[in-house]
């Protein structure tokens, strides 16, 4: 056998080994339903105007962002004076002023309020139709690319889970009736960890807004290690979660915060949020609690999540795309979140 032949054989063998390892995650968990073996970097876009600045675009390019969860609209219930009934309507629709960065997949995201769920009882199918149709129209009109996944954000609780689950099933039904190939994903909040089932194909565990924002005694409502620890330290809860992930929602990613705000109080009562706390002028009687997403806290929480749950299937996610906030982090700090 020639030397050339053995060299080729070595190369083939090495490549095979590399491929084998890259298809496994750190804790050896694999899933047949895992859509992609490569880590995908994702960021949320949560503004009502989609108009990426140069800095935003640079962030997307520099950190090789492949997916963008773009909030399209919220769904809420409004009282109609004419009909004297509650109507479920889309609000805060995102206006698209700039195009999508090349090579980035857009996942349309919709936030659904509990009032909307409540008002939709008896007409959940119509709501599902409306949501899907609107998303597809928005994507088509604004040239956002094909829709392969829809992401739902809802702060459902035990009492409203059934409604939300039903809505998800109706959306799937509508997707099926139109013979579309669209996956359904959703957010998972810490308090929802106990659930054994999630009504979507993949989920995003939200590691932000972990505290009670309106409580004046809260130290940091965006991300507090102690708050996260309280949830993840209950083994029974974690076991349930891992089991759920394995059988019902095999793809779970984790989203970390990269934003800050100021929480304004008046006589210790919550008054409002301000995006730029450094520019806010306090009125008489007001106090402000400035909250940041400190990288040390993020990393500490990330380590806790990894140890308790295991690392993600697709990739970590950053909330949200805003160069004003993201510029506070160094390149390496952002990379450390994604890696």
């Amino acid at each position: 056998m020639s030397e050339k032949f053995f060299k080729k054989l070595k190369l083939i063998f090495l490549c095979s080994i590399l491929c084998l390892f890259s298809c496994q995650n750190n804790n050896g968990y694999t899933s047949d339903s895992s859509p992609d073996c490569l880590f995908e970097r994702t960021v949320y876009h949560w503004k009502t105007t989609f108009n990426l600045s140069a800095a935003d675009s640079a962030f997307v390019k520099d950190h090789n962002i492949q997916r963008l969860y773009v909030r399209m609209f919220d769904v809420d219930a409004e009282f109609n004076e004419h009909t004297q009934t509650s109507e479920v309507v889309p609000i805060a629709t995102t206006v698209f002023r700039s195009g999508i960065p090349k090579g980035v997949d857009i996942i349309p995201t919709v936030y659904i309020t509990l009032d909307a769920l409540d008002a939709s009882r008896g007409s959940m199918f119509m709501l599902a139709e409306n949501i899907l149709k609107r998303i597809l129209n928005m994507c088509s009109y604004n040239e956002l690319g094909p829709v392969n996944e829809i992401h739902l954000d809802c702060d459902w609780t035990k009492s409203t889970k059934e409604d939300f689950t039903y809505l998800c099933s109706m959306i799937r039904k509508v997707i099926a009736s139109k013979q579309l190939d669209i996956k359904l994903s959703g957010t998972i909040r810490l308090h929802q960890l106990e659930e054994a089932e999630y009504p979507f194909d993949s989920g995003v565990l939200m590691m932000y807004n972990t505290g009670a924002i309106k409580n004046n005694l809260t130290k940091n409502s965006i991300l507090d290690y102690e708050d996260v620890y309280k949830y993840l330290s209950v083994n029974k809860r974690i076991k349930k979660f891992i089991a759920a992930r394995e059988y019902n929602c095999p793809v779970i990613d984790v989203a970390y915060p990269a934003y800050s705000w100021g929480v304004v109080f008046y006589n210790n009562h919550f008054r409002k949020l301000v995006g730029n706390p450094q520019d806010y002028v306090l009125q008489e009687g007001e106090t402000i609690r400035v909250e940041n997403s400190e990288i040390e806290t993020i990393q500490k929480v990330k380590a806790l999540v990894d140890s308790k749950i295991g690392s993600v299937v697709r990739g970590n996610i950053i909330y949200h795309l805003d160069s004003n906030n993201l510029s506070k982090y160094s390149y390496d700090e952002i990379e450390s979140i994604y890696n």
């Binding site: 109507e87 309507v89 889309p90 409306n130 597809l136 129209n137 088509s140 009109y141």
Partner: protein
């Protein structure tokens, strides 16, 4: 074979016509889409217009059908695009449909449906947000559109376009011209100038004083102003409202100032200026109005006349005519619901509003005419008017429900006659305004009133008597009671003798009349007397005569008995002189009651001082519960011995004191 040929040809023709029809409407739209949209979506409707539908003659033509299809397509597309859930997409047919409709409509070359096609164009442009284009198009096209309802509708859309392109005031003017008050309110809210109904009225007074929706807003707003005014809240606002009304009435744009003048008169009266109100109303009365306003003007006129007229014979003659009209309104408008509400009693008794025509009659008569009649010294007539105002509805209700005076065997309705004839609670005759007036006025006037009611002279008096409740027992019993209250037992007897024996059982206080006013203790009569008041009056009169003509002992005892009788009749036996002791205790502290108590004490002491016979003295002291006095001064009398032997408490007291007191 021939039949087959015809069938084939028919099918071919049908196919051709469908295609031609589709192409005629829109060469751009697929036939399937058109058929789905036009024929399968909704039943045909034109709910956005108050336009008369096209004549059948036009409808059956190709032109008519084409138009209807286009209009329907427009309607359906607009409904979709106006949905909150709508979002355009690249291949969405709705936008295309609307664009197509604009083109089709603008390219219409005919004359018959020019205005209707223009309307469709305006509607489509509005839905697409092409406001500036609509304005430009309207500038060029408006003169070519024939005047009419359709053009007025188009103006509404043009006004919307004006508003959305910054010409807000012009838009408001347009809306004002086409009487679109709802859009005016919408625009004012967007502009931040809306301040409730007042701001709308203010705007309307200047720009569209004849708007047909204004009466509703005026009614709603000024009713609130009236209520606040009655409670002396926001008086200044009444003046502002008045100014708006006069501004509108004097506006050259205003073709029908009657409602403004009427309202101004109403407000001026609310401000306590009935003379000025009367002059303003006179202007309104010279104008033609619809039925509702004509009626309202009449009511206000009657009210103002009552407020400003001199109450002489001339006015009484006028009042008769006005009362006839008021009475007729009540009679004509009486309904089942009003009748039932009347018999239920609660609303009528408490003067709550429930039947406009009777409410107005009572408001005018009881609120204004009666007090002014009393001021003019015509109290008996005032009482008769009050009687009429309070009782007319009851009587009319009875004749409405039982026109043949045949009672329903099931007894579904209990009328006023039933109430007056049965021995149960009568919630009308002893609590209405008429009764309260009779119960508070000097008894002299009651006597005069009784005479008037028995022998009416003038036409007005006869009119009122025929429509009032003039039960003899009711009046006699009341006058007799008033005399008892005045401690005039001779006069009381005269009237109480005229009360039938069983009437007392029908009064609300009958169960309290079985108490003995002269008793040692608060004991009841052994058997209820049906003529308690008359018996009491008779006894008191007897005692009064004894007090004047008897011996010293007889005099003394009689005086004591009179004193006890007076005291009881204003206390435990209050039903002899009063009609209530629950809802209003004021009679217990009024001057008449205080005078009675004073008289009672004085008579008792004077009487006791006159008595010489110890036995009689002891008896009198026993009725006054003066056991100590009996024990001390009359121990040896029959009464004294009985008291001492039976009353443990006194015996203890006596022995404790060693018999010294």
């Amino acid at each position: 074979m021939m039949r087959l040929k015809v069938s084939i040809i028919s099918i071919l023709l049908l196919f051709i016509s469908i295609n031609a029809f589709a192409c005629g409407i829109s060469p751009c739209l697929p036939k399937e889409y058109l058929l789905y949209r036009v024929y399968a979506y909704h039943p045909f409707r034109f709910n956005h217009l108050e336009i008369e539908p096209l004549d059948d003659a036009i409808l059956n033509t190709k032109e008519g059908k084409e138009y209807m299809a286009l209009a329907k397509l427009n309607e359906v597309s607009r409904e979709e695009i106006n949905s909150r859930w709508y979002y355009p997409s690249k291949d969405c047919p709705v936008l295309g449909s609307l664009e197509d409709i604009i083109v089709q409509s603008m390219n219409y070359k005919g004359t018959l449906l020019k205005d209707r096609y223009a309307l469709q164009a305006a509607r489509a442009m509005f839905s697409l947000g092409k406001f500036q284009e609509m304005r430009d198009w309207w500038t060029k096209t408006s003169k070519c559109i024939p005047e009419g309802v359709v053009k007025e509708n188009i103006k509404g859309y043009v006004a919307g376009a004006l508003f959305r392109t910054g010409e807000e005031e012009k838009a408001l003017e347009y809306y004002a011209k086409i009487e679109d008050l709802e859009s005016i309110i919408y625009c004012m809210k967007k502009m931040g100038t809306y301040d409730g109904d007042f701001s709308v009225l203010e705007y309307a007074a200047t720009h569209c004083p004849d708007n047909r929706y204004l009466p509703e807003i005026m009614q709603r707003y000024f009713k609130k102003v009236e209520v606040y005014s009655e409670f002396h809240i926001e008086n200044g606002n009444v003046e502002n409202c008045y100014q708006i009304c006069m501004k509108a009435a004097n506006n050259p744009l205003c073709k029908n100032p009657d409602k403004w003048l009427y309202t101004a008169a109403f407000l001026k009266n609310l401000m306590g200026q009935p003379y000025v109100a009367s002059n303003i109303l006179a202007r309104a009365e010279n104008l033609n109005s619809d039925d509702l306003l004509t009626e309202s003007k009449r009511y206000l006129r009657i009210l103002l006349d009552a407020q400003i007229s001199t109450y002489n014979k001339e006015y009484e003659h006028k009042l008769l005519g006005e009362l006839k009209w008021l009475d007729r309104q009540v009679e004509v408008h009486l309904s089942d619901s009003a009748a039932e509400e009347t018999l239920w009693g609660w609303t009528l008794k408490n003067n709550y509003s429930y039947f406009y025509w009777n409410d107005m009659l009572k408001k005018i008569v009881l609120g204004t005419v009666v007090p002014r009649m009393i001021e003019a010294g015509k109290t008996p007539l005032a009482l008769l008017l009050a009687n009429y105002a309070d009782n007319r509805m009851l009587e009319l209700t009875e004749s409405y429900l039982y026109p043949n005076k045949q009672r329903d065997t099931t007894g579904q309705y209990i009328t006023i006659s039933d109430i007056r004839n049965r021995r149960e609670f009568n919630m009308f005759d002893y609590s209405n305004s008429y009764f309260k007036l009779m119960d508070s006025i000097d008894v002299y006037w009651l006597k005069e009133y009784k005479k008037l009611s028995e022998y009416p002279v003038s036409s007005l008096e006869k009119f009122l008597c025929k429509r009032s409740y003039l039960g003899k027992d009711y009046l006699n019993e009341l006058i007799g009671t008033r005399y008892l209250r005045n401690m005039n037992y001779e006069e009381a007897m005269k009237y109480l003798s005229g009360v039938s024996k069983d009437y007392q059982q029908k009064t609300n206080v009958s169960k309290y009349l079985n108490r003995n006013p002269f008793a040692y203790d608060k004991e009841l009569f052994a058997e209820s007397t049906t003529t308690a008041k008359l018996d009491f009056a008779r006894k008191m009169l007897k005692y009064q005569r004894l007090a004047l003509n008897g011996s010293d002992d007889e005099k003394g005892k009689a005086m004591v008995m009179i004193g006890i009788g007076i005291r009881s009749s204003f206390d435990y036996c209050w039903a002899l002189t009063q009609y209530h002791d629950f809802y209003d205790y004021s009679w217990r502290e009024n001057s008449q009651t205080l005078a009675a108590r004073t008289a009672s004490s004085s008579l008792i002491e004077q009487g006791l001082a006159i008595i010489k016979n110890p036995e009689i003295a002891a008896e009198c002291n026993l009725l006054l519960y003066r056991f100590k006095t009996i024990a001390k001064y009359y121990a040896d009398t029959r009464v004294g011995k009985e008291v001492l032997s039976n009353c443990d408490v006194l015996k203890d007291y006596y022995f404790h004191d060693g018999g010294k007191s």
